[in-house]
């Protein structure tokens, strides 16, 4: 190519400088809302430098269904249908704090048997939720087998839930003042109400033994796996102080070494009558979060076995007026859900439904630590950390 060059402007080789450090811009990577391991429609806007994450911003709201607003135009018994769908992996557990709140405002004494049934089914919901975690977390790290085993084992628990409530995920089983007569429990005429299906005690005992076996198997298959250990130990460490500051709750908080479990601290269900331990982690890393949840399954199975053994007899429904109206007032009831603390702030103006309902969900607060935990992490660790937080998008966005 013939090109005339100005001799005065010619670059002199000795003066030319080569920038040794190549400046690279961070790449923006949109993880989600459609992504295999964001558990739904969470979107993470990650700035990455190679494999290293420099910042992460979670974008929420893709699944917002307006339940708090919807509850304002529903009656109290209707709201349980909505709250089932908040954390759908443990639908039953969502009903408890709401119903307990309404009962607290109405000053209803719930029969002990109904309390026990609620407790058993809540713990079953916890077990089934942790089964899902035990399948999904290894799946995200790349182990494909545990999810199939976990789903198969979870089915036993779901079968029991179904035999009592008639629903696997959305039981809609709690009534203000008690529980619904069980599905398939014979005629539901008032004289002859029967609460639990025939053979429930025996089936539960068998199923809980299987759960205990499954927990042992998971501790061997997942926890004993060297690759799993090096992928999760010292990854995503969440210090105690940070966890407390950010309102993290549930197994994640306990994995960081904070002994806080509303089953011990609060009295929304008669947990004080049972002997169980609260597993606590030491380092607050992904492995601890896994092991806390897995040990919790064992404790839950123990609680259920104890509850089956000293199940009181009696009615399952307190006397309530035909049309349920909650007197004027406000209350906040919180409960230890599988994913963490769940609470309902109910403001009643004395009508058929709540005037305002504020729902505090565990996953929403739990994922607020994502930007802090993920700063400086590697991209594969992002998946591991996200998996270990065990959130459900319905619980984040509601």
């Amino acid at each position: 190519m013939a090109q005339t060059m100005d001799p005065n402007n010619m670059p002199i080789l000795s003066e030319a400088s080569v920038s040794v450090e190549i400046e690279t811009e961070d790449m923006t990577l949109n993880i989600g809302p459609q992504h295999p391991s964001t558990h739904g429609v969470l979107r993470l806007v990650a700035k990455i430098n190679g494999e290293k994450i420099s910042s992460v911003e979670p974008v929420l709201g893709y699944m917002h269904r307006g339940y708090e607003k919807l509850a304002e135009v529903r009656t109290y018994p209707q709201v349980t249908t909505l709250v089932n769908r908040i954390d759908w992996v443990s639908g039953f557990a969502n009903e408890i704090p709401f119903i307990a709140g309404a009962e607290k405002l109405m000053e209803i004494e719930v029969p002990e048997r109904a309390q026990y049934i609620r407790l058993i089914l809540t713990e079953m919901a916890r077990i089934s939720s942790h089964f899902v975690f035990n399948g999904a977390f290894p799946l995200e790290i790349g182990a494909l087998t545990p999810i199939f085993l976990a789903m198969e084992d979870r089915e036993r628990v779901l079968d029991l839930l179904e035999s009592v409530t008639g629903g696997r995920f959305h039981p809609n089983f709690n009534r203000i003042g008690g529980v619904k007569p069980a599905a398939g429990a014979g005629p539901t005429t008032k004289k002859d109400i029967q609460d639990l299906p025939a053979g429930f005690y025996h089936d539960t005992k068998v199923a809980m033994q299987k759960v205990l076996e499954a927990v042992d198997r998971f501790e061997d298959l997942i926890g004993g796996n060297e690759v799993f250990q090096i992928r999760t130990k010292n990854v995503g460490v969440l210090p105690k102080e940070v966890a407390e500051e950010y309102g993290v709750s549930g197994p994640i908080l306990r994995a960081s070494g904070v002994e806080f479990d509303l089953r011990k601290q609060s009295n929304y269900l008669p947990y004080d009558k049972f002997d169980f331990e609260i597993p606590i982690g030491e380092n607050g890393d992904c492995f601890d979060r896994w092991s806390v949840r897995t040990s919790e399954m064992r404790e839950s199975a123990k609680i259920i076995l104890q509850a089956i053994d000293d199940m009181p007899s009696g009615p399952i429904q307190a006397k309530v007026p035909k049309v349920i109206k909650v007197p004027k007032g406000q209350t906040y009831v919180r409960a230890e859900n599988p994913k963490g603390e769940m609470g309902y702030y109910i403001i009643s103006e004395g009508g058929l439904g709540p005037y305002r309902l504020k729902i505090r969900t565990a996953s929403f607060s739990n994922i607020s630590i994502l930007p802090i935990m993920l700063e400086g992490a590697l991209l594969p660790d992002l998946i591991a950390i996200m998996g270990s937080l065990d959130f459900v998008l319905g619980d984040v966005d509601r």
């Binding site: 990577l29 995200e140 790349g142 182990a143 494909l144 199939f148 991209l379 594969p380 992002l382």
Partner: protein, 326 residues
């Protein structure tokens, strides 16, 4: 028979065998994983699950090929060809018996290592041309991984070459027959394990499936592929599995030879023996795939550079010293 007819026949035989072996291994993987995971489906549906792989292949054949707007089209379209060419090319040096071999190259092992690195080009170009950040990361991870694990693969084979004093694959098998023991027992045990680990990484199978890593990169470098091009990637994965296991059984497990069978009949039982050994090795890799999570990128590189390469160098040294002493 003229050279061209012979070549044509050999090419046709290889092209017919390769997909059949891939189908066989797919079947083994589908049924093996279903057995490990207690999934009843693949053990019962469709003639006890035996038409499963065929159905999969037929499904991909009739799918539409989707080419996104921003891709570098010629590069994108040709990327699967590199990969499948590399793995099918390796069939050249697999001896089914002393005479049943496409070409008994004098530099057989060298040919193996040279050809197997071609697939890196395919993987890298696939990731690069897809115009997708996830694909790009997958492609780069794959390139880094394939380069890192090429070394232990080569170095572990060097030990065998020193012991066998030849690079021809038939020569290596004959040497093992002469020894009376396969090399895996006669001194190359560590090399065999290193070779299998490196081969797993080369095939990008779990626990080394970082480049695909479906939970983080959706499908890695072949995220954007669909239809027949996806099928080509998929099939070449299984052909690669077959080839790598066949080469491992040739180099370390005595290839087509089993003791006590008459050597003059080797043309009849040789292929079956080799395929049997190959499927056995493949089954071990399948069992590993379905029981382990995947390594992280840095852990993967650490394993290659700090463990496997020094070990294989030590193995070479030990083999060389033994060779000189005895």
């Amino acid at each position: 028979m003229s050279f061209s007819t012979e070549l044509l026949i050999k090419v046709l035989v290889v092209l017919a065998t390769a997909p059949v072996m891939a189908l066989g291994l797919t079947l083994l993987e589908v049924k093996g994983s279903a057995w490990m995971q207690r999934r009843p489906g693949p053990l019962h549906v469709g003639l006890r699950g035996f038409i499963f792989p065929l159905a999969t292949a037929a499904k991909y054949l009739q799918k539409e090929t989707i080419i996104p707007n921003d891709v570098d089209e010629p590069v994108f379209k040709w990327a699967p060809a590199w990969v499948i060419a590399a793995v099918v090319g390796l069939f050249t040096i697999i001896p089914l018996s002393p005479t049943l071999i496409v070409r008994d190259l004098e530099l057989g092992v060298f040919f193996l290592l040279a050809i197997s690195s071609i697939s890196t080009i395919g993987v890298l170009t696939a990731g690069w041309s897809s115009a997708n950040k996830f694909s790009l990361m997958g492609g780069l991870r794959a390139a880094g991984q394939l380069i890192a694990y090429e070394l232990p693969l080569i170095l572990s084979v060097v030990g065998v070459v020193i012991q066998a004093e030849t690079m021809s694959t038939v020569g290596i098998v004959e040497k093992q027959i002469e020894f009376g023991f396969p090399f895996v027992i006669a001194g190359q045990g560590i090399a065999f394990i290193i070779f299998m680990i490196a081969a797993t990484a080369e095939m990008m199978r779990t626990p080394f499936d970082m480049p695909i890593g479906e939970s983080e990169l959706t499908m890695g470098f072949f995220t954007e592929y669909s239809g027949i091009r996806f099928l080509i990637f998929y099939i070449s994965e299984y052909i690669n599995l077959f080839v790598m296991c066949a080469i491992a059984s040739t180099l370390f497990l005595g290839g087509y030879h089993v003791p006590l069978l008459p050597t003059e009949w080797v043309n009849f039982y040789g292929p079956l023996v080799l395929i049997g050994k190959t499927f056995l090795l493949a089954f071990i890799l399948i069992a590993i795939r379905w029981s382990f999570p995947r390594f992280r990128e840095d852990q993967l590189q650490t394993l290659a550079w700090k463990v496997l390469i020094p070990l294989s160098l030590l193995n070479i040294m030990a083999t060389a010293i033994m060779k000189v002493v005895f």
